[in-house]
Symmetry: C2
Subunit: 400 residues, 2 copies
């Protein structure tokens, strides 16, 4: 059985994702589609609007055969770590291709990655060897890349595509995995509006419409399963107030020394975070707090991730240890996906995890467990289900 891999967040699942899955099958002739998906928190450092089980289920109802959770220590990370983690998991699952969107699908990303300047990527500070404090790491790196290769790496899907290519090269996977970019359709990653005749909209524009209560705008751009979920309202569309309440509590009660041990708390940022939280009367919302601490040096997403690490109290050493010890957590499968797992499970390159008990709190899954507990605390609604202990993979019987 031939498998194709895709890297996803499905926050929420929409028509663009359907197109992605169709193209992945069509381009590669694969039997099985394996999606690596962020868990309860997405790459930008925000809680996903539905929990990982709910999102996995919709994916399985819409063409994916196996959903593997991208562990928190890979998912909530700058793009180079996010993409490398995802490639590592897909390689372990035995995929022969990875299909992904790109604003420049004609570019040979693998060659680009091989000619790219090197950076120190795994330091506490991802500032690496870029010392100019007036620009972000990403734009400094893009500038260096353009100098040496002539390619301007600035579009969000290109940045991910470049990450997959660099990971394949770095991990020596060139003979196993083909990288297959597909040209992005009209809806940009960050587009915030969509016209009535558009059948594809970006996930961020969908979340924005949801925020504004304009559900009628979403009817044509998401499959029925997502529609049903959205109309029963998302669990973390209003996460900011509880997030800010808990974060403020931590910033007030932890010492600057403790905050300084948090992952990616580089260049004295902890002093700024603490001082801005303690000021009188102090920021009244999470958004106004982020604005107060933001500087030209850091992207919005970088600040938001650092604040999530702070909220989850993830220290540098914990994160670095966790990243060395990956696993394949199965969130669900179709019968076809189950068949693929039965055939391959004895020679997977990473441990396959399908059920966990309380001992996970002491295992390398503890960050996902913590993330799940945090997600529960931030989510609205009664009886938000716990995310890990004794949960078993979803089996979606009937495929479309």
């Amino acid at each position: 059985m031939k498998a194709v891999g895709i890297v996803t967040e499905y926050n929420p699942f929409h028509n663009g994702h359907l197109y992605h899955i169709e193209q992945a099958k069509k381009l590669t002739g694969a039997d099985v589609v394996i999606a690596v998906m962020s868990g309860n928190f997405v790459q930008r450092g925000e809680p996903a609007i539905f929990d990982k089980w709910t999102r996995a289920q919709v994916a399985l109802q819409n063409g994916v055969d196996i959903v593997i959770e991208l562990p928190t220590f890979f998912a909530v990370q700058p793009s180079h770590i996010f993409t490398e983690g995802a490639v590592k998991l897909l390689a372990a699952m035995g995929v022969e291709d990875i299909v992904f969107g790109s604003e420049h699908a004609d570019v040979d990303f693998l060659t680009l990655a091989k000619n790219a300047p090197d950076v120190q990527l795994s330091k506490k500070s991802d500032a690496g060897n870029f010392k100019d404090k007036k620009q972000t790491f990403a734009s400094a790196y893009a500038h260096e890349l353009e100098m040496s290769t002539g390619f301007k790496l600035e579009d969000p899907n290109d940045i991910l595509a470049f990450g997959y290519a660099r990971a394949v090269s770095k991990l020596g996977l060139e003979s196993q995995i083909n990288l297959r970019p597909i040209q992005r359709m009209s809806a940009g990653y960050h587009d915030k509006t969509f016209t009535e005749d558009q059948k594809i909209a970006s996930a961020s524009s969908i979340r924005l419409a949801l925020h504004k209560g304009k559900l009628e705008k979403l009817a044509d751009v998401v499959p029925n399963e997502t529609k049903a979920l959205l109309s029963s309202s998302a669990n973390t569309i209003n996460f900011e107030q509880p997030f800010w309440q808990l974060l403020k509590y931590r910033l007030v009660t932890d010492t600057v020394g403790q905050l300084g041990q948090i992952y990616q708390m580089a260049e004295g940022l902890e002093h700024r975070l603490s001082a801005m939280a303690l000021g009188e009367p102090g920021p009244q919302s999470y958004q106004s707090y982020i604005k107060a601490v933001k500087s030209k040096r850091y992207t919005f997403a970088r600040i938001q991730r650092t604040l999530l690490y702070t909220l989850a109290n993830i220290k540098v050493d914990q994160m670095q240890a966790a990243m060395q010890d990956a696993y394949l957590r199965v969130l669900g499968f179709t019968p076809l996906g189950q068949q693929y797992l039965n055939v391959t499970k004895k020679h997977l390159d990473l441990p396959l995890i399908s059920k966990v008990d309380m001992s996970l709190a002491k295992s390398n899954l503890r960050l996902d467990y913590k993330a799940g507990k945090l997600w529960q605390m931030l989510a609205t609604g009664d009886n938000v289900p716990q995310q890990d202990v004794s949960r078993v993979p979803i089996l979606v019987e009937k495929e479309k």
Copy 2:
């Protein structure tokens, strides 16, 4: 000018406190009554139902001339530290007498304290040299005391009285300070009911009536200022839900190793606290959580204090350092109190603090500052005022 000292919590101020003040003046002939009062959290590890400024104001309206805040590192402590801290502050303020209630006012507590068995009181674990895990430290100590002196130390005011006496003896204050017990009137410290002809009720029975919404029961047992406050509703009468929410968040996100550094987290208690918080589905309220972690070894108050230290993230070393460095924080005074301060302030034995700026976050007042921020987070109502920065002592012009 002659000053008498009293040690108080005023949670809330009631007729028993009026009687206490009258007796203090009458017994000693003092010109000035100085109250050392717990700040925003009381000895039992709970937030005070009104903030420290509000409670200081009512005290000044009802016969107290100067209110000094008992710092958090003395206030939220077992009785031997609470009493020693209070005596240290009153001695520094130059009082000649300390007047306090006792169930056995005829007992010579100073002689009792001198003949009492010694214990290791300042260890991380207050278990000291008592190894029997089936009883609390307090009852083990009371047993030893009874063996050596014949006196049964079991009533709550006697325990405090014994603490004052031991502090006076330990600090070498016998020639400066006279200890004056007054016989407790009918209302026991922990009494939960009061009859209609009773004009004195305990603070805990008042809080209970308030909890039950039975304000009419309080009309005769508190002065008008407290009545007005109670009818505008207390700020932390319903603190348990927000307290549990923040505490659960910390227990979920901090490692057992981090919890183990918390003050008074003795004998592996951190493992129990963590496991009980993480269990699925886990306790649904603060009360059920305390019940789950409670054992015969610890009193309810001891557990509650440890949980407050956990919530405030107060480590052993921080607490021990803080206790070495006391100060006199003035919350308010009457004109007479102000006159006393003007005369004495140049030769007080501890620094007198009447106004603080943001630098307090780095000073020894940081625990009080943290406590104030926490109290704000737990309090209900909009515009709960911040507790420290730029606040100046209350001047209450008109005495009753």
